[in-house]
């Protein structure tokens, strides 16, 4: 098994230049992005026409008309209306407006915005060769504005972005987002054939014609816990379709990892999880939220990952000739082969996002503090931890995570952590959950070894087979909690073994899995890492159990 991560690129702070030169000139700069195969750009209107005239949509419209008895024109009008509601209207002037205002905002909020420029170069290359799909991680509302801002900065083609309908409710802002390339989709449209047809045709048309890179969030929604969400497959299915059907030669899928030192919405999320309702997206809400402007949110790291060629991904896994027996414009439920492929690719891509997430020292601190916090809940324990001890443990953990391939960003000089006075229970919970959210950023690094550690702990004996069963059980149980590629149990087990042996925590013989003397500490840390989740599941299970009695 191979765990060695490719050498990662260096970062460049783009805010530095913004602090030293005119934002206005930057917003008005000459913007001439390279385009896919030198295609001549078409207007947003031409795009909607192409969609409305596509044979796919024609087919579905007549089908719907037959099924419901409505007149074709009527259904056609509905389709136009859906498209009207959905379509983006990317305008350079709006982008320039955002370029200006966001420069101001970013400079106030963040210390730095760091981007791997080699990734940008790779992306630029990819855009010229094949249609591109941008797949950023999703932790904050900021994500897509930030993405467009970056692409504008580097003179790359601006993406069109799949956004939730909730934004559209915001007066003015919704329209602004639309004019900066967002297109809006309803959160649920289950059996609505027509909606699905308009939506999928719209996305495919933009993609096939190389109109613009298509951007969407694999996780579907913002992760409130900084832990990657299991991927949603709908959009990925749609974008892959033109390749399966031979309408494009290839397609580049570009995972983008956006790591925030501190997420704008952090306490909001924690409150949300404690049951305080999520404020509805509204323009006035946005204005109220401007108090965030007075705070410091540290730095952002944006890592543009290696573009993944869909063609190479599908090589040997998808037999594209299965699409040659039905006209391509007739929508068909994907075969099991395709579904599995899309699912696996989605997991693979989310893992690629995770791998290039930058971890700050605070993330490791949070992991340790939380473990300490949980343990010190026991009566008779004094809360807190001596700074010396904490420092020593963090340094240990830093080395461990490096060996596990974590992408650490460790500053040269350490700053002392602020201590917050404990107030009432809610605010404490908020802090704990925010902390958890920090810890979660590092989860993917420790996940597989931690599952193994827990498995060793839980297994009836040290027999390799028993440990594997226990590992497999735990992995299964957590399959919706973490990003665990379906069907990859053996690989994950081997990876975990490899890592733990590498760090000297385990000894593995033909038959047995043994914890070494010095490995004890690692094992305890790793088991504790999963403790909160295990406890959570336990509480939930007991609850359901007592209810079912």
């Amino acid at each position: 098994i191979v765990i060695s991560r490719d050498k990662r690129d260096d970062f460049e702070d783009i805010l530095e230049e913004r602090r030293n030169s005119s934002d206005l000139r930057y917003a008005l700069k000459c913007y001439t992005p390279v385009v896919y195969k030198g295609i001549s750009p078409c207007k947003a209107d031409a795009l909607t026409n192409m969609v409305l005239q596509s044979s796919h949509l024609h087919y579905v419209i007549s089908q719907v008309s037959k099924e419901t008895g409505r007149a074709v024109d009527d259904v056609q009008d509905e389709a136009s209306a859906i498209l009207e509601e959905m379509a983006q209207r990317l305008q350079l002037s709006t982008i320039r407006f955002f370029a200006f205002t966001l420069s101001k905002v970013f400079k106030t909020l963040f210390r730095s915005i760091c981007v791997n420029e080699e990734g940008i170069q790779r992306l630029q290359q990819a855009i010229q060769e094949h249609p591109v799909v941008l797949l950023p991680s999703h932790r904050s509302y900021m994500d897509f504005l930030l993405m467009s801002y970056l692409l504008y900065t580097y003179d790359l083609a601006l993406p069109v972005i799949a956004a939730g309908m909730d934004f559209m409710g915001m007066k003015f802002v919704g329209e602004m987002l639309r004019m900066s390339g967002a297109f809006f989709i309803r959160r649920s449209f289950g059996g609505d054939k027509l909606y699905w047809a308009v939506f999928s045709e719209y996305v495919k048309t933009m993609l096939k014609n190389g109109y613009a890179p298509v951007e969407f969030f694999l996780e579907g929604t913002r992760s409130r816990t900084s832990k990657s969400l299991t991927p949603k497959l709908g959009l990925l299915n749609i974008v892959m379709d033109p390749f399966f059907k031979g309408e494009v030669f290839d397609m580049s899928l570009v995972p983008v990892s956006i790591s925030y030192e501190r997420i704008l919405e952090e306490s909001l999320y924690a409150r949300e999880m404690l049951g305080v309702p999520k404020p509805k997206e509204s323009t006035s809400g946005l204005f109220k939220a401007r108090k965030v402007l007075s705070q410091n949110y540290g730095s952002i790291h944006v890592y543009f990952g290696q573009p993944v060629s869909l063609r190479s991904l599908a090589e040997g896994r998808v037999n594209r000739s299965q699409f040659s027996l039905v006209p391509r414009h007739i929508p068909k439920r994907p075969s099991e082969e395709i579904q599995n492929f899309v699912n696996d690719s989605a997991y693979m891509l989310v893992r690629a996002q995770e791998e290039n997430m930058v971890l700050k020292p605070w993330v490791l601190l949070a992991s340790l503090l939380l473990q300490n916090h949980h343990q010190s809940q026991a009566p008779g324990q004094k809360p807190g931890m001596a700074l010396d001890e904490l420092t020593e443990r963090v340094v240990w953990l830093r080395d461990l995570s490096r060996q596990y391939g974590a992408f650490l960003h460790w500053p040269g000089t350490s700053r002392s952590a602020d201590t917050t006075p404990e107030e009432e229970l809610l605010s404490r919970a908020v802090i704990v959950l925010s902390c958890a959210s920090y810890r979660n950023q590092a989860l993917h690094v420790f996940l597989r070894p931690a599952l193994l550690a827990l498995a060793i702990h839980a297994a009836a004996s040290t027999k390799k087979q028993e440990v594997f069963y226990s590992f497999s059980f735990l992995r299964n149980m957590f399959s919706n909690e973490f990003i665990l590629v379906p069907g990859a149990t053996v690989q994950d087990f081997e990876e975990a073994c490899y890592l733990l042996v590498k760090t000297g925590a385990l000894q593995i013989t033909q038959q047995e899995v043994l914890v070494t003397e010095r490995g004890h500490r690692t094992i305890v840390f790793l088991t504790s890492m999963l403790d909160p989740f295990l406890q959570g599941y336990q509480v939930r299970a007991t609850h359901s159990w007592s209810k079912s009695l």
Partner: protein
């Protein structure tokens, strides 16, 4: 030298009638043994570095082609300094001595049917025209070749040969014109029996012409151009003109399901045959009457057509004939881009008004066609050419790097042809097409016959290439062209080819529900240690791409051994089983053991 060797070999047979000698000697003398076509016709670069085409047989013969060198060097990165000449003479000692089945040979002698086990005769019939076959010949390398060659003179001779072969368990491989591009003629290396090449070339007579029913009964060894010439003498034609018609035979057409350039008027081979006679190890298969259509279960002709020599030898065929057309007219249309061109062809097919032939070349082929323009005879024509070019590229706003051209051939009585022509040009105009004259059209069709000679020229200078074809539904034509061309470029790069390849295509036939697409692919192999292997890998990948894009395994070249790995997925397991059970019944001992298709 050739003549001498052949003479001796013929003399050793010492039971031959004089006319046969002459024919045999003639064939061996006038055809190349390690390249395409006639020995006297070939391209070469003269001392001034200009390309010339030798001989007297073609319109291009004896002419200088000034632009070819530049095109050749710039397209392939090739240089006239870097030569890779072929081994000039067939070295008979490099050919494995024949494995003869003595009792078979003894009994054969008593029938009086001519045969030979001369090395040159055997090598000549051991290959088709796939790149790897010609490449090996040029290097003087011979694999497994037939152990002897037999020349039956008529149907009854074939019956005798097949009976003897069955009796003595000898492997028979039928040989017609030798123009196969599917490795169909290659001897299976694992074959341990004596392999006999059954050359049908002496069965080349028109047995009768029936003017009441417009049919002709013809021996299957006849070569396309002879068949047309002989029929023309009586005022008829079959209209079946595959690009290989100078050399390919009627029996070969039937055995591979051939398609002709003018199928829009005359039909493909399956539309042209009325009756087929084939000799199999089980006996002779034929229908009892010549009714134009029958409902008598599955058509047994369809077991024969496309059987690729695995079931028996086609000996006689009754074919439809037509009165020779009164009038023929070439034409051409320039389109601003390939997409528009395809759209126009689709519309022509929709209106079912396709001319005898309509072909659309992409931009690269258009440029290639231009590079093959012979030196102009007068200042005036070149002036006109310049004017035309100016009109198309500047005035009409066509981009010379995107435009493409369709070539047309109309046939029929004069009035109808002119009417038809107008109809097609009107449709073309709707797709931005601009009539570009008869000359361009005619040159397009002439190139069909000389293009195979060009491969030999390329092979003199490190350039190897080939063409392959497919058929595909209309809605997929553009995508398949784009994807396959790109796949070729990509694969070449991945496999270490140092120079960008030529990867081009054309749409050569239109049908109601789709089209036939031809791909041409060639590259400069300098710096590669095993160019043929690289070539084969790229072609394999291109075929995978074709299948992934909804294209067929073959439109008319057939499967042979080159493409048989894809047969199961192409016709399903049940389909393959059906074909196998036919083979098992007809030829249980695998006498026709060329191992094609299945």
């Amino acid at each position: 030298m050739t003549k001498c060797v052949t003479l001796i070999s013929v003399l050793t047979l010492n039971l031959l009638a004089t006319p046969f000698w002459q024919i045999l000697i003639l064939i061996m003398e006038i055809m190349k043994w390690n390249g395409w076509g006639y020995s006297d016709s070939r391209f070469f670069f003269n001392k001034k570095g200009q390309a010339e085409f030798t001989g007297k047989r073609y319109k291009l013969s004896g002419l200088i082609i000034p632009a070819l060198k530049d095109w050749f060097e710039s397209t392939f990165g090739a240089s006239l300094q870097h030569k890779t000449p072929a081994t000039p003479i067939l070295n008979s000692s490099a050919v494995h001595p024949p494995t003869l089945n003595e009792t078979f040979v003894e009994e054969l002698k008593s029938t009086g049917i001519p045969f030979s086990h001369d090395a040159e005769d055997r090598v000549f019939r051991a290959h088709g025209h796939c790149l790897h076959e010609i490449f090996a010949l040029r290097e003087g390398k011979f694999g497994r070749v037939p152990d002897m060659v037999i020349w039956p003179n008529c149907h009854n001779d074939v019956v005798k040969v097949v009976e003897l072969a069955s009796k003595h368990n000898v492997c028979l491989i039928p040989y017609g014109g030798g123009t196969s591009v599917s490795s169909a003629l290659e001897c299976p290396p694992e074959e341990t029996r004596s392999i006999v090449s059954l050359d049908t070339s002496q069965m080349n007579h028109i047995l009768w012409i029936d003017e009441k029913n417009l049919t002709a009964h013809v021996e299957a060894g006849i070569v396309g151009q002879d068949l047309e010439r002989l029929l023309n003498e009586s005022g008829y034609c079959t209209g079946h003109e595959p690009d290989s018609m100078e050399f390919s035979s009627l029996g070969g057409w039937v055995a591979t399901r051939a398609s002709g350039m003018k199928k829009n008027i005359y039909g493909n081979i399956e539309d042209l045959v009325v009756h087929i006679k084939m000799v199999t190890p089980r006996g002779v298969i034929e229908k009892s009457c010549q009714g134009p259509r029958m409902s008598t279960g599955p058509d047994i002709h369809h077991f024969i057509m496309g059987s690729e020599g695995t079931l028996g030898v086609v000996t006689e065929v009754t074919m439809k004939i037509r009165p020779m057309p009164e009038y023929q007219k070439y034409g051409s249309v320039v389109f601003p881009n390939f997409e528009q061109g395809v759209a126009c062809l689709r519309e022509v097919a929709r209106q079912r008004c396709a001319p005898a032939s309509i072909r659309l070349m992409d931009n690269e082929q258009f440029k290639f066609g231009h590079a093959l323009k012979p030196q102009v005879s007068s200042i005036f024509t070149s002036f006109l050419d310049g004017l035309k070019k100016f009109y198309i590229t500047k005035f009409k706003g066509f981009d010379p790097n995107r435009l493409c051209v369709a070539t047309l051939l109309f046939e029929g009585d004069r009035e109808r042809v002119l009417q038809h022509e107008k109809q097609v040009y009107d449709i073309a105009a709707k797709f931005g097409g601009l009539a570009a004259g008869e000359d361009n059209g005619q040159r397009g069709y002439m190139l069909t016959f000389v293009i195979a000679y060009l491969r030999d020229l390329g092979m003199d200078y490190y350039v190897i290439g080939e063409s392959f074809e497919t058929s595909v539904p209309w809605d997929r034509v553009l995508d398949i062209c784009q994807n396959v061309k790109e796949r070729i470029v990509r694969e070449c790069k991945d496999k270490g080819v140092q120079f960008p390849p030529l990867s081009t295509c054309r749409v050569t036939q239109t049908y109601d529900a789709g089209a036939c697409v031809y791909f041409y692919f060639a590259f400069n192999y300098r710096g590669l240690s095993d160019p043929v292997h690289v070539y084969e890998q790229v072609e394999h990948a291109a075929r995978e791409e074709i299948l992934a894009n909804g294209g067929s395994l073959s439109h008319h070249h057939g499967v042979g051994k080159l493409r048989k790995e894809w047969m199961r997925e192409t016709v399903s397991s049940v389909g393959l089983g059906m074909l196998k059970s036919v083979k098992d019944f007809v030829d249980p001992n695998n006498i026709f053991g060329n191992r094609n298709l299945l």
